[in-house]
Amino acid sequence: MSRNGRGRGAWRLGMLIAVGALAVAVAATAGQARKGQGGYTLGLSNTLVGNGWREGQLCAFKAQALASGKVDSLRIAHRATDTAGQISDIRAMISAGVDAIIINPSSPTALKPVAAQARARDIQVVFIDQYVSAPGVYNASNDQVAYGRLGAIWLFKKLGGKGNVVEMRGIAGVPADTDRHKGFQQALKAYPNIKVVKSVFTGWQFAPGAKQMLDILNSGTQVDGVWTSGIDYTVVDAFKTAGKPYVPVVGADNYGFVRQLKSRFPTFQGAAVTNPSSIGGVGAAQAIRLLDGQKAPKWIKLSPDVWTWPQDKASINKYARAGAPADASAQLQIPPWTTYTLKQYAACKGP
């Protein structure tokens, strides 16, 4: 059988090409000049796109970089990907020679090795939104356990410690969801007469969340209060669609929800637990401070506020702008860290 020449030929060809690729690549390795100290280059890595919160985080990051006046250019990896993809993005940023990387981590543990690689090259690393513990890195995050707990406590108190509650979670398996659920459970322990009649995952999507609420309401289940992981204003609307009286709802500081708090009072009452997406700006500010050689806290931990109408009229009025997208986070400024103007934020343009 002398007829397998084609197969061997193809294989030989493949090997040749592979070896050739390596050779050319080696030859192309030019000198690596470390870039000058003209200005900083910041990187942002984010793996979840498509919701207003993450878009707000990106805009805050860009606006803060611009407002600081110390940043020359940005490398932004704001795309839907998984942990492996995020690691790959971070490596690409290392190759691009950034001075600091701000990371919204997709996993609390998996990014440690690549963070160490960055630190070994003297690149500052700041994790935002979710806490990551690793040597030499900085954190800026909202306290998600507290987020779950504070909102739940408000709700349970509002119900007088007794009644049927629906828990509307986010995406199964995402750390923030797990942490919030943990907080919710902590609060639940103190209120034995609160019954969780339904616990559903909304996937952090507004339309399916509303559908689930409609189903629950139509099933005839007695619902006295709803805790949501931020899928809030469509849930409130679901009561209206179903023709049922409003019950207290806990949501996030989304514009849509905040506007409802204000405009539908007193028939509808709820609480917005702040989870500012401006954390992106905080991360940028923290990184710039580190690059400037100043000291910065290892962990900027933001405790959520609970806004209710009319008690927190001032905050709500400050942020509840009419034209803003309903799913964007309302709390735009986190003093003293963010220094951008609202206009810079709205423009969503970096340096």
Partner: protein
């Protein structure tokens, strides 16, 4: 030799170079494109060659295997929309159990994973051949099923594997600069694919994809071959899942989802015809590297990497359009 009136059908045949161009031209072209990208990439990068080539090899590892998994199935005339969720499932199973293991146990367990994923792929193939529902529908259903099972195995990302297991993918071979991740890909190609590629099982896969009827009349067990192709695809998906565990370091039930469509893209760019029977695995590997590298290049340049999605979409369409025009021209 009776050469009385034969002249009319003394068939001259197609010149060898044209045949080879048709068979291997695309693969060579894809590798040349990859080669052409390398100098540009290096000129942008601020890091050493070792770091960059390592990074590329590691980043592309899961996609390489996903593309190989998809390629085998597509060559057999099917399409597997469940590649991503199957690799996600294997990712969580491995990460859940390997975390406390020694290196030796982890390697043995990897074999169990490959067996499991082969069975899972075989199951998909069996459902397809048994019910005679089109591949795309069954694998669409299996996409949900494997994802669901993955969530059941591990709801929250976590787990891990022994450090030496990570080092298999993250390290280099000995003291050379050859990245382990790249060696693994080619080793899998050599061990799993090439031995069967030119023997009856491999040829059967091509035959079934090329013309199912002719293959059946040639005496090939069509159903058996298709199930076999899905099993082999399953093995590669299992490797992709293990690659995710090694490169991401954890198990994540959601991690596989982006690989299904990317694997289709890599297969198309790699010269495998979606009609089946044409192409190989070497082309899709190059395509996987190209897709990974183009994203990296955009990011290093400071372009919004979402343009990568735009460019990738346009590129896939253009490649198929041009490929279609070329094949139409050379075909007659």
């Amino acid at each position: 030799m009776t050469s009385a009136t034969v002249t009319a059908h003394e068939y001259r045949g197609v010149p060898a170079w044209r045949r080879n161009l048709r068979l291997h031209g695309w693969t060579i072209g894809v590798w040349l494109v990859l080669l052409a990208m390398v100098p540009y990439w290096r000129s942008l990068s601020q890091q050493s060659f070792e770091f960059d080539i390592q990074a590329l090899a590691i980043d592309a590892l899961p996609l390489c295997f996903a593309a190989m998994a998809q390629a085998v199935v597509v060559i057999s005339g099917g399409i597997d929309l469940s590649v991503g969720s199957l690799m996600g499932l294997m990712n969580v199973i491995s990460a859940k159990h390997m975390i406390g293991m020694s290196f030796r146990e982890a390697i043995l367990f990897s074999l169990v994973i490959l067996l499991l994923s082969a069975l899972a792929g075989g199951f998909t193939g069996l459902v397809i051949t048994f019910t005679r529902i089109p591949d795309i529908v069954v694998t669409l259903g299996m996409l949900f099923v494997w994802y669901g099972v993955g969530l059941w195995v591990m709801e929250i990302p976590g787990g891990g594997a022994p450090q030496q297991f990570y080092d298999l993918a993250l390290g280099s071979i000995g003291s050379t600069q050859v990245p382990g991740a790249m060696v693994i890909v080619f080793a899998a190609l050599v061990v799993l694919w090439l031995p069967i590629r030119w023997l009856r099982p491999g040829l059967s896969i091509y035959a079934v994809g090329s013309n199912r009827n002719a293959a059946y009349l040639s005496g090939i067990g069509v159903a058996r071959t298709r199930v076999g192709a899905y099993m082999l695809g399953g093995v590669f998906a299992g490797l992709a899942g293990l690659a995710l565990t090694a490169t991401a370091g954890i198990g994540d039930p959601n991690s596989g989802s982006i690989y299904t469509l990317n694997s289709v893209a890599a297969v198309v760019l790699g010269g495998v015809s979606l009609l089946g029977g044409v192409g190989g695995l070497i082309g899709p590997i190059a395509a996987a590297y190209i897709l990974t590298l183009s994203k990296t290049i955009l990011l290093i340049r400071g372009t919004d990497p979402n343009y990568a999605a735009v460019y990738q979409g346009i590129l896939i369409i253009l490649v198929v359009v041009i490929g279609g025009l070329l094949s139409r021209k050379t075909h007659r």
